[in-house]
Each structure stands twice: as C-alpha cells, then as structure tokens.
Symmetry: C2
Subunit: 590 residues, 2 copies
C-alpha cells in the first residue's frame, strides 16, 4: 500500500510535454540522463523518507504551547536531509547558491515532495517563492544577508497576506508599517492562516509581510512588502535578538495537520523590525512574483495528492476481492479482485486520467515559465503562455485533486472511511489546495478577466490553434485504438473556442455575465487542454515506441470519451447559464 | 450560523411532489394541517435539540473502553426525548404501537433528524428498518416480545451483514448459526462496521444478524436472518442474562464520529442465542426489506447534509464581506457580502439546486413506497416505481451530498478548512453516505441490471413518459422567466431515453458494456428526473401562487441550464465510453 514515486511517468511528461524540450534545453548542458538522475534521486527521497512521515504527521499534528510548536517526530531530520540534498535550491539562481536548473524540473520534484507529504511540501514552496521575490526585488544588502540561506533552505520563508478582514481581497489589509529613522520599518498588526509561520525546523524564519504605510493610498496600491526575520541577523551573519513577532495560536484544520497554520502577532513591544522589499506601495507586484510560482506549486499539490490517492486505490483494488467479475477465469477461487469490475475500472481510469491531465498542464506551465526568462518575442510569448495557464494549473489540478481523492475513498468502500487506511487523509488534505494561494473561484476570475483578454484575445487564440494541431494529429493516425478520441477532442476544442469568443464579447459590455461563467469556463479549458495533451503523449509514445504507448492511448481515449465529452454542457453553462446565476437572488433567501 | 429546519420547503415538496398527494391520501384522515403540524414539531426538535449536539458529538466521539461506549454528553437525553415524542414510530404499523403514518411523511422527518445530526440520524434508521423486517417476517412470538419496543425506539436495532471478506459481496459471509435443541440457534463469528452495535442509549439492543447454517448452500442462497438480543428477554418482558455477543472495538472514522461503528464478536462462550426471522436460507430477502428502506433513508442523509451545508454557506456568504461586487450600491462601506459575487452565487445555486432535486427524488420514492402497499395494478405500478427510484434516491442524493458539502467548504474560503467553522464536518460526515447501505457503484449496477430491465423496460419507459409530460408543461408556459428550461430538460430526457434504449439492448448481449456505463447512467437519470421535478415544483407554485414561485422558477432554470446540460456528456459516457473502460487494463498497471 506504500507510495512509489512515479518517476518514469514524470520523466516522460517532463521531456515530451508541449514546450518542455526547449525549456529544458535553455539550461545548457542538461541532457536526458541528467534529468533522469535528478528525478530518480528526488523520487527516492520522496518515497523512502517523506512518504512514511505522512500518516504519523497527520496523527501528531503540530502541538502549540507557549509560543512554540512541536513538529511530528522525524520531520526535522527529514527537512534537514532534504536541504542537505540541495532540493530547496534546484531552480534558484546560481549566484546565490542555487543550481539554476529549470523550473520545470523543479516542478517535477515539487510534485514528488507533495506526493510524499502535502503537509511537508507546502513549506518549501513558500521558501522558494520568498527567495524568488527577494532575488527579484530585494536590495543587494538584503540579498547578501538572507538570500543564500533562503536558497539553501537553511532558513525557511513565509508569505503573509491574509488578515481576518482581508482574504481574497488583499487590498483590505490593515497591518501597519511605520518608517524608522534608520531606514527600516516597524510592523504592527495581525496575520492569520500563516503556513509554517512558526516551527523549529530551521534556526530562523524569514517572514515576507504585506503591510500599509501611514500615508499609503487605500486598496491594492497602498501595500508594501517587508522582510521581517524571526531572529535579527548580525553583520557577521550570526543570529541576534528575537524580533517583535510571534505566533499567537495555531488552527485546528481538516487536513495537512503537520503543516502549522499560525496566527501571527506583530508589535507587542513597539513593532517588529522590517526591511522594505522593492518600492513602497508596490508590494503587491512583488508578492505576485511569489504568488505565481506558489500557484503553480499548489497546482502540483493537486497532481500529487491525486497521484498518491490513485496509487493507493489501485493497490487496494488489486488486492481486495469481492464478487466475481463477468468473464472472470473459471476455476478461480470464487471472487475477483475488484479492479476487474467495470465500475471500479471506471473510477480508477477517471482517477488516472484526471491526474495525468493535470500533470501535463502543470508541467507545460512550468516550461512556459522557464522559456519566459530572457528577451525577445519567444520569451514574451512564453510569458503570456505562463500567464494564461497558471490559473488553470492551479484550479483545475486542485479541483481534480479533491475529486480523485474522493474517488480514492470510494474505491476502498467502507475501509475508505476508516482513518487508518489513509485514503481519508488524502481526501482531507486535498481540500485545502482548492482554497489557498487564491481560491479556485479567484483563479477562474483571473483567467476570464485578465488572461483570456491578453493581447485582445490573441494569446488564447494562439493556444487554441495549438490544441487544434493536437486534434488533427490524433485524427490523422486513423488508429482504431484511439476510438473516438479525435472526434471528441475536436468537439471539446470547438466548445472552448465558442465559449472563448463569447467571453471576449462580454467582458466589456456585460462583465457580470462573463464572471458568472468563469468556473465552468476554467473547467472546460482544463478538460480540453488536458485531453489534447494526453493525446499528444500517446502519439509521442507511439512514435518513440517508448513510455508505454498502449497505456497512454488507453488513457487518452478514456479521457476524451468520458471526460472531455463534458464540453458541451460546460460550454452551455458558460454561454447560456449567466442569466440564471445573476437572476438567482429570489432563490438565495431563506 | 445555526441550522433551521426548512419546514416550508419540505412541506411543499411533500404535498406537491409526483405521486405524493395520493400517497398521503391513502392514510385516511391526514390533511394538510396534520402534515404541517407533524413537520413543524419535527423541525423544532431537529433545530432546537439535535442540531446543537452535532459539533460537540463530532469532537467527543464515542470512546470505547472495556466493552462499553460513552456517548457524547446530551445524546442519551436527546434520544430519549425523541423516543418520547413518538418519532421512531411515525410510519410503523399501528397494531404494534406505531402511528401508521405515511412513509413519505416519515421520510421528511428522517431528513430533518439527519440535518440536525447525521451521526444521530443513522441509528434510528436502522431501528426502523429492523422493525419493518421483523413485522414482515418474524414469528408472532418474536413480534410480541420485540416489536413494540423496536417500534417505540425503547430498544434500538442493528443490521449486521458485513464481515471482513464480505462487504458488497454479502454472499461471502461466514458467520455461523447452529440449530439448538430448543428451536433457537447459536451464532458464532465476527461482524464489522456495525453502526450503533454497542451503546447505552437504550437498555437493550436487538441485533439482526445474517449467518449461515452448517448445511446451507454457498453464496446468497445460504444466508439466514437471526434476531440476537444484547440482553435476553424473560417471559415477563424483563431483561435477563447478557447474550454471548459483544463489541470488540470501534473504528476511528473520517466522519459521523458520534455514531459508534463496532466490530462485533459472537460466541466467546459457545454462541449467542439467536432466533430465526423468516425461513432458513431466505435471510437475504428479509434483509432486503430493511435495505430498501435503509437505502432511501441514506439518500435522505445526502439531502440532509446538503441542506445543512447550504444553509451554513448561505449564512456565511451573507455576512462575509470581501471585494466590491460589480454594480454594488455606491456609497456602501466599500466591500460587498460575497453572496453578491457571481461566482459565489453560482456555487450557492448549485448547492441549492442539487439539494432540492435530491429531495424531490427521495420524497417521490417514499411516496411510491406508500402507494405500493395494497393490492391491484396501482400498487404494483407503485412498487415498480419505488424499485426503479430507490437506487437513484440513494446514490444521486449521497453523491450530491458530498459535492454540496465540498462546495460549502469552498464558499467559506480559508475558514472552511478550520474545523471549528463546521463546514469541514459536513464534508467529512457526508462521505460515508455514498458508501454504506450498498456503495453508490452497487446502486448503479442495481439500477442498470435489475431496475431498468423491469418488465422488459416498460417500467422505465413509463417513467420517461412522465418526465416528458413535465417538459411539455414547462414549454407550454412560454414564460420567459424559465429561460431555456424547457429546451434543456427536453434534451436531457432525450439523452436519458437514448441511453436507456442502448442499455436495454446491451444487457443480454454485452453486459460488460452496460456495467461500464452504470454510474454515468445513474447520474444522468438523477439530473434529468431532478430537473423535471424542480420544474414541476415551479409550475405548481405559480399555479397556487404559493411556495415562493419566483424562487422555484429561478432554481428550476438554474438547474436546467447549468446541471441538466451535462446530459449529452453523460449519455456519451454511457453509450460510447464502455470500450475505453473495458480496454483500460494496460493503463491500470504500475
């Protein structure tokens, strides 16, 4: 029943996914063997070290007493071993001690850390995002002091946006920053839902905190970003006094119990010392540097929990015997492994197909981020592609994470509802990923209002053309093993195309109508793009006679014929459903 | 944030749903005022007594020590008050102390008990089922001794089918029953997952246990049903010695923590004394009497958890302010209640629509059960209707229970993931209902292999005709408030019709293909029937100018345009998806 990192599957998608070969090539000298070596080693750590910590971490949680948090047994050692392996530094800049490897390769590793344990994986994701923001916006002085240790993971970082009245609406935050005479700032206020806000995995914790200057404009344009260390850092790099920030309490959560979620209090004694990152009142832009990477990483959490739940359900379905499947070999002991029952097979294929589709989307997004680094038209186009795909990578992957984890419980029957089986933990853990780093509703609004309209719709149109090429390629094979894959994907792309045209026509004139369809539009996009990418993978595997072509064809076909076929219903919900949403008030009383 | 029993909505569906008026009329003397009085009183008990126990019950659980279970504080008093109110006896036969009221009315009450607390509600459901089976199959002697107290609820009953190797495949059970010289039996063996198998809410617990005689044929045809009291009952009705059955342990579950789920051991000292119910080797038929009612009741749990989650999400969405909705009143304090954001509105309408549709289906099933009592063609037809709808009532309602509870978490954002909010408990509790009393996959197979084929398909065809009448009635209104309701429902019925024809053509020749589409077929059926019933309700409310016609039209329209539109995708999954399921083996390795 134990998790095994799906290294071969990951390597295949990473090497052959859309735009990934050029992304990996950009980082000179990285060949297929290098990639395989990194993935194998990451897979080993995730499988052997992290995965066994997952259930005990869930049971232990992170007890909080007198301002201190006790991490579950073994977690500190696992984190330190992980840092020693260089895993925090995979994609970080070489000038600060990073390995400068592609984000796409790091994305594959992030998936595996989260397969090992979502509660473990979310911490480093925030540290990596913090390092990225500091590298992009920090002063040289701040970088010299903090960046090497955030890059290595010797210190962890946090992202602090949320306050009780400021969740999705970050602009409503009230934490105060006052200028001090020495050029630093004094931070006072309260932050909630701070992931890994306090712990003793590392000797210091570097908080990245959004706050408002006394003379700042209201809303999003009056937010500044501050670096606030838990312990002050002396000139010589040694740790100094404790800063005026503390964890006040932790949350009792549905899942990821081993990830401490803290309420943070700033300014018991006059204010925590903070250092400005970037310019005053431009903090949201800096934070968005972290957010985009964090959003992709949370999408990868969705892939990860789906993969782990699928593996567990497959193992159970092969071992558990109930009833006799139609056509089961006569003379067998009387009952069949439940994997032989068609309804169970459908559940497992749904799990596998959704997981693989989400992985394709996330890796394609990571590749676009890699290709966006640099100048020129190609980099600009890649930047647009990353912008377009990021909300889909986040929301689609985490929605299917919840769905797949729920199916995982169902495959287990009554055993799925018993906590010791482990399927229920995935169902609980998966749920947060659809919420944090921007709820999936916020992702859908981002997609519809900011991304579809990029370059007047040219960015999304270019992507639709790419999907059509995938469809044509499947259709051109005329291979009966694909069943109706080509036809169903073609219809899905048509639906996505019409829904896109409709949205573009509404955004200015009837934004309320466009907003009402944002969530089904995002799902339509994810299903369609995911379906096309699975078909691409099948074609690639056939061409290479590698990567289990028969399996990939079966997955592509199942997905096209059973999932992508939702397209017409989703299109309708987008293009015809808005009135029924916006005239619903009478039904939402009582 | 507290639950309020939706008495008016329940009363409307109960009085006006398909086939319900005649069901209620069958029970002479019951008028609309009587119904309202019962519902109001049940609603009061659920709201004021049961609902406040739900969260504390979740936290407390049912600690098990030395064979005894400690129920959460207040639960014993709540149960006894509930019994004193006569609530266990609502639909039980008058000759045994029951009130003889319609099952449909009892169904409405069962919904409310489960809205108050699912962990509370599941216990009585099993007692009622046990009483029903005993009334139908027990000897006069057994009935005299046990039935009055099972009817009143003074003693609770359990249903004991599952063993480690016998879950969905009941026929694999091994618990032994040996004939004793005095005409009783000695039961030895182990049962698992026994709901309310042990507790001290009542002085005695009457177990209904499936076991196998030494000379019984293998499989389903060798199973007998036994009544096994926890305490023996003397001739004078007083409790005697403890029987040779005990709870060995309880499960640590994902949800319904206040419902003790026990492993039961029979025969530490030679065997528990059991009394045969019905005939030897005919136990499964007796148990199915209980199962069908229990399946409907579990469907009602799905409705209940969906209703409670919807109420909680609505309350939160009205209070929580974030961002400014498009078109929000200028001069407002700057942020809007999130219910004003279209994406949140879509979530809430999805919750409300699915909940209401499931309620309609469950109550229609209950009404058919009422109408099936008696002789003649009408009773036979009602019996067929109940048989057809039961798997849909169970599986559709519990699937949407999970979906709605998950949306409830999502509406709450980060707060939804915090246990104290309560939304997460619904998400955890809801999950079991899709599993127990026959997994939803088993329900789908029952629908496809036994129900669709009833009378060669005539039963389902008759139902399709009824749905078409609903469609025509909506179309005939030409009321623009319905939007595309008529057209979308018409397409959904067409899809269901074609999928049904396809299934009927495959059942004999290619059963494997039919089985592969069972789950999407059941969902297609639920969406379509639910959509038509919501439209019926809207039309009824318009005609009566009562029951909030504007709200009901809005719900019917939203459902038709955003949920029922999944029909074409589901139809395809049924009629074209089977090959991709049954040729999936290559993709389910690894």
């Amino acid at each position: 029943m134990s998790y095994r990192a799906p290294v071969a599957d990951i390597a295949f998608t990473l090497k052959h996914g859309p735009g990934l070969a050029p992304a990996l090539r950009q980082h000179g000298g990285l060949d297929a063997d290098d990639i395989d070596a990194v993935l194998a080693e990451a897979g080993r750590y995730a499988t052997e070290v992290l995965a066994p910590l997952n259930a005990p971490g869930d049971r232990h949680g992170t007890p909080f007493k007198d301002g201190r948090i006790t991490m579950p047994p073994g977690w500190k050692e696992a984190y330190r071993g992980w840092v020693a392996g260089g895993w925090n530094a995979v994609a970080a800049p070489t000038e600060w001690g990073g390995q400068g490897l592609p984000h796409a390769l790091n994305a594959a590793c992030i998936e595996m850390w989260n397969e090992g344990s979502m509660a473990f994986g979310i911490g480093p994701v925030l540290t990596m995002g913090a390092a990225e923001a500091l590298a992009a916006y920090g002063s040289d002085d701040l970088k010299r002091t903090y960046l090497p240790k955030l890059v290595s993971g010797e210190w962890m970082g946090t992202m602090q946006l949320t306050e009780p009245q400021a969740g999705s609406d970050v602009g409503a935050l009230r934490t105060k920053a006052e200028r001090a005479a020495d050029g630093t700032y004094r931070i006072t206020g309260q932050k909630i839902f701070i992931t890994y806000g306090e712990h003793e995995l590392t000797d210091n914790i570097i908080h990245f905190v959004l706050a408002r200057l006394p003379d700042a404009p209201a809303g999003n344009k009056g937010i500044s970003l501050f670096l606030v260390p838990k312990f002050m850092v002396n000139r010589d790099g040694a740790l100094g006094a404790r800063n005026d920030v503390r964890a006040h309490s932790i949350e009792h959560k549905l899942g990821i119990h081993a990830s401490p979620t803290c309420t943070m209090v700033y300014g018991d004694n006059g204010g925590a010392i903070g250092y400005l990152v970037g310019e005053e009142n431009r903090g949201l832009a800096c934070m968005f540097t972290m957010m985009n990477l964090a959003r992709l990483a949370v999408g990868l959490q969705g892939v990860a929990i789906a993969e782990r739940a699928t593996q567990q359900a497959l193992d159970y379905a092969r071992e558990r015997k109930q009833g006799r499947a139609l056509g089961a070999t006569l003379g067998a002991s009387g009952s069949s492994p439940i994997i032989e029952h068609p309804d169970v097979k459908r559940m497992l294929m749904t799990m596998r197909g959704l997981t693989r589709a989400a992985r394709c989307i996330c890796y394609a997004t990571a590749g676009a981020i890699d290709r966006s680094h640099g100048d020129g038209e190609a980099a600009k186009a890649a930047n647009d592609r990353a912008a377009l795909l990021t909300p889909i990578a986040k929301a689609f992957s985490t929605d299917i994470g919840v769905e797949v984890a729920s199916l995982g419980v169902q495959v287990h029957g009554g055993m799925g509802f018993i906590e010791e089986t482990g399927a229920a933990q995935h169902y609980r853990d998966a749920r947060i990923a659809a919420i944090y780093e921007g709820t999936n509703g916020i992702q859908a609004l981002d997609l519809v209002t900011r991304k579809v309209s990029l370059n007047g719709g040219a960015v999304v149109r270019l992507y639709l053309d790419e999907l059509r090429r995938s469809v044509k390629a499947v259709q051109a094979t005329n291979d009966p093993a694909f069943g109706a894959t080509g036809a169903r994907l073609s219809e899905a792309v048509d639906s996505l195309d019409r829904a896109t045209t409709w949205l573009l026509s509404k955004l200015d004139k009837e934004p309320q109508a466009a907003l009402a369809g944002a969530t089904p539009y995002l799902r339509l996009f994810g299903n369609t793009a995911g379906g096309c990418m699975l078909a691409d993978e099948a074609l690639t595997a056939m061409r290479l006679a590698d990567g289990e072509p028969a399996a990939r064809i079966a997955i592509a076909r199942f997905f096209a014929e059973n999932v992508a076929v939702q397209a017409s219903g989703l299109e309708r919900a987008v293009t015809e459903g808005a009135d029924s949403v916006n005239s619903a008030d009478a039904a939402l009383t009582g």
